[in-house]
């Protein structure tokens, strides 16, 4: 249906004169996007604006702006239920939509753990009430994240869980992991893993090496991640299931990933912004905002991750947004919790890490934030295809701004990027055809 033929009953948005980037459909040019009743109606040049008297048809002039599918973040911690002082689904959703994210995937390591269909439905209900962004959740692989008994993956999948993970930890016992992979195979959902062998990691709190040695802090050897990732790659060969390695952080994991892809295994991976921008020596002053798990590694690891992204080996960028209260972070480095809150400055960080140094162009970046993560969890999103739900971000790619965590919509401020100047700001975010955020 043409936009100018809209019956006045219908609501619509016309995004005119923007530069549309829709990697799923190979679009990277100046054109218009029309949205009718929450659905992408047309993407082409010179769509005629609606009749001026139709007040429920809004025209947005996006000249000089980028128009992209809404972003998808495969890895956020919204802390609800259990730690609502740190974040809630409402505050996290508000943060997400302000950063262009129209879909996010919550991790199940809440209190209680998301391990049955009621828990999954609770997340969805809270998200509907917040009415900001699409909130998906993964369910736990094992009950209580204890790595012993399988959680009710079937019921959770039926309730809409888009994958399973014990994130925060990895499933330590290889027999349990093999069982989980085999079982999840019948549900057609992805199994995601926070790869970390806890016996190798010990009680580590930062990368192991020179810096952990002189700081007198227990280190986490890269081997802790790589040993489990290698193990899982062997296990996958015994099952028929998609596997997703969460926040890989080491050069060794990149090599494992390359080989797995070359071998045609159904394995995907994600990379977090801090592993592209920060390195271990930043822990030198015991600033707990740099305490994150997997830990900040070395420049060599950062370079390997960037090369992997350039080579298409990485499937998604994911923030691992992990909000914590200042009072929790204001502790000895050994005692403070792991995690960085970065959802609200994600685009600027990705641009700084990847677009500015020429590792990716804008379509490449948008692809890793939209259509490719959508494929990882198998949702029909991340595109501006005609007939799809209209989730759209409008970006000013030239806007420079200073990251100011005090202005975050997130409840937490544990952001080590405070004061950084970044480029690329989300101006408007449309979810299901509704304007949910305007700068």
């Amino acid at each position: 249906m043409l936009f100018d033929e809209l019956p006045t009953m219908k609501s619509g948005i016309l995004i005119a004169n923007g530069h549309v980037i829709d990697p799923a459909n190979g679009i990277d040019k100046k054109c218009d996007v029309s949205i009718v009743d929450g659905i992408i109606a047309e993407v082409r040049e010179n769509i005629k604006p609606a009749r001026p008297e139709a007040s429920n048809c809004r025209v947005i002039d996006a000249a000089g702006k980028l128009v992209t599918p809404g972003f998808i973040d495969l890895h956020v911690h919204f802390r609800e239920p259990g730690d609502e002082e740190e974040e809630t689904i409402a505050s996290g959703s508000a943060a997400a939509v302000a950063a262009g994210f129209t879909s996010v995937v919550c991790m199940p390591n809440t209190n209680p753990v998301i391990e049955n269909e009621t828990d999954v439905e609770y997340i969805h209900r809270k998200a509907r009430q917040a009415r900001k962004t699409h909130v998906y959740t993964m369910g736990a692989i094992t009950k209580g994240l204890e790595g012993v008994e399988l959680a009710e993956m079937g019921f959770m999948a039926q309730a809409g869980a888009v994958g399973f993970t014990d994130d925060g930890r990895g499933v330590q016992d290889p027999a349990v992991m093999l069982r989980a992979l085999k079982y999840a195979g019948m549900l057609d959902v992805v199994v995601a893993q926070h790869c970390q062998d806890e016996r190798i990691a010990g009680g580590g709190v930062m990368n192991s090496g020179y810096h952990s040695t002189i700081l007198g802090l227990p280190g986490i050897d890269p081997l802790a991640e790589e040993a489990m990732f290698w193990r899982d790659i062997q296990l996958i060969k015994k099952a028929s299931v998609r596997y997703h390695a969460q926040h890989i952080s080491t050069a060794g994991s990149v090599e494992l990933m390359r080989t797995a892809k070359k071998d045609g295994l159904p394995i995907t991976c994600e990379v977090a912004p801090h592993h592209l921008l920060l390195t271990e020596e930043l822990c030198a002053e015991y600033d707990t905002n740099f305490k994150v798990n997997p830990p900040l590694r070395t420049q060599k690891d950062v370079d390997a991750l960037k090369q992997a992204i350039a080579d298409g080996v990485v499937d998604a960028l994911a923030t691992d947004h992990a909000p914590h209260l200042q009072s929790e972070k204001e502790l000895e480095f050994l005692a403070a919790p792991f995690g960085i809150a970065s959802l609200e400055c994600a685009l600027g960080l990705y641009v700084k890490a990847l677009v500015e140094p020429g590792i990716l162009d804008w379509p490449g970046l948008v692809s890793l934030m939209t259509t490719r993560p959508a494929k990882v969890i198998g949702i029909d999103k991340g595109t501006l295809g005609v007939g799809k739900q209209a989730d759209v971000a409008i970006i000013d790619p030239k806007a420079r701004y200073k990251i100011d965590p005090t202005r975050f919509r997130s409840k937490s401020r544990n952001c080590p990027y405070q004061g950084w100047t970044v480029e690329g700001r989300v101006e408007k975010t449309i979810v299901d055809g509704e304007m949910r955020f305007e700068a």
């Binding site: 010990g202 009680g203 192991s208 090496g209 020179y210 040695t213 002189i214 700081l215 007198g216 802090l217 280190g219 050897d221 002053e285 015991y286 009072s327 204001e330 502790l331 000895e332 480095f333 050994l334 005692a335």
Partner: protein, 319 residues
């Protein structure tokens, strides 16, 4: 301007670790300690420089030697001393480290002597409170006054550390003493080798100013000083060596091994000693042992440290 005219070579109100210090600063502390050593030999063992000041011994880990040494040092400088020991860590029991320190500060303390199980805890405190902070051992990061008293003891006997070959033997991975010694000794020109089983070494690490060896017999005849670390059973994770018997066999300082050592080798140990484990009694009590000198010198060094940080704080407030 005023500070310059006093020509102070010390302007730090905290002592957090020897890694931060220059060779000149370390030497300045040691020189200052020489003066304080004499106080302990007088019939009235007291000097007035910290009169009216309050020092708190804030100890989150067990300690007898270091805590008493600091208390005595503060007493001899005429300070008032508060003992605050708390075995639990901040996470397990209510009050955080920061809240504890702020509460103490509200009572008007001047110097916090802190021992804590987490590396970096004193540095964290120094950023958040106004009082002077002296590190009395943090996790396995540093134990700067132990490092200083080791330097003092060696310098007193040998005149200088320049060119000396020093072995630090044992559980280096979990030793704050080894780290403070490493920084202090190498800054003053000594050549340091860490010796122990690879499971107790800090891993394959580039950039540390030391050599690493897993064979004590290879180097026992070449070193001028040997510092035997205590096996810290409370810190050992897992099973880093098969048995005490086997550990002693490879890394114990035995009478037999001592026969191959230089005749004037200095035998050191930060205490408390596990007799017959890392060191045989006859060696610990033998003519080369300076283990008790270390304890004596610790007092003078700690007096110097308390004196200097207090002076630096006073100068800073004058500006």
């Amino acid at each position: 301007m005023k500070r310059k005219s006093r020509q102070s070579k010390w302007d730090r109100k905290h002592l957090l670790g020897l890694r931060d210090l220059s060779a000149e600063e370390i030497t300045y502390i040691l020189d200052t300690a020489v003066g304080f050593e004499q106080v302990s030999t007088r019939s009235v063992k007291k000097a007035p420089p910290l009169r009216g000041k309050v020092v708190v011994n804030l100890f989150f880990e067990d300690s007898t030697r270091t805590r008493n040494s600091f208390a005595l040092a503060a007493n001899r400088l005429s300070a008032d001393i508060i003992e605050f020991t708390k075995k639990s860590s901040s996470v397990s029991k209510g009050e955080t480290l920061l809240d504890t320190a702020r509460n103490l500060e509200a009572m008007g303390i001047d110097i916090v002597v802190v021992r804590h199980g987490a590396g970096g805890a004193p540095r964290f405190l120094s950023r958040n409170i106004k009082a002077c902070v002296v590190n009395a051992g943090d996790g396995y990061c540093e134990h700067p006054t132990q490092g200083l008293l080791d330097l003092y003891t060696i310098r007193k006997i040998r005149g200088s550390l320049k060119g000396l070959k020093i072995a630090i033997v044992g559980d280096v991975a979990h030793s704050r003493v080894a780290r403070s010694d490493m920084w202090g000794m190498t800054k003053l020109g000594a050549e340091v080798t860490f010796v122990g089983p690879p499971t107790l070494m800090p891993g394959k690490v580039d950039g540390l100013p030391v050599k690493v060896s897993s064979c004590l017999d290879d180097i026992i005849d070449k070193v001028d000083v040997i510092n035997m670390l205590r096996i810290q059973f409370e810190r050992l994770g897992g099973n880093p060596f098969p048995s005490i018997r086997e550990y002693s066999h490879y890394f114990g300082l035995t009478v037999d091994r001592m026969k191959r050592a230089k005749p004037d080798i200095l035998v050191m140990h930060p205490g408390p000693i596990n007799r017959g484990l890392e060191i045989e009694s006859e060696v610990a009590d033998g003519p080369n042992s300076v283990i008790l000198d270390q304890v004596t010198n610790g007092l003078a060094v700690r007096m110097a440290v308390l004196f200097l940080v207090n002076q630096a704080a006073a100068e800073k407030t004058e500006h």
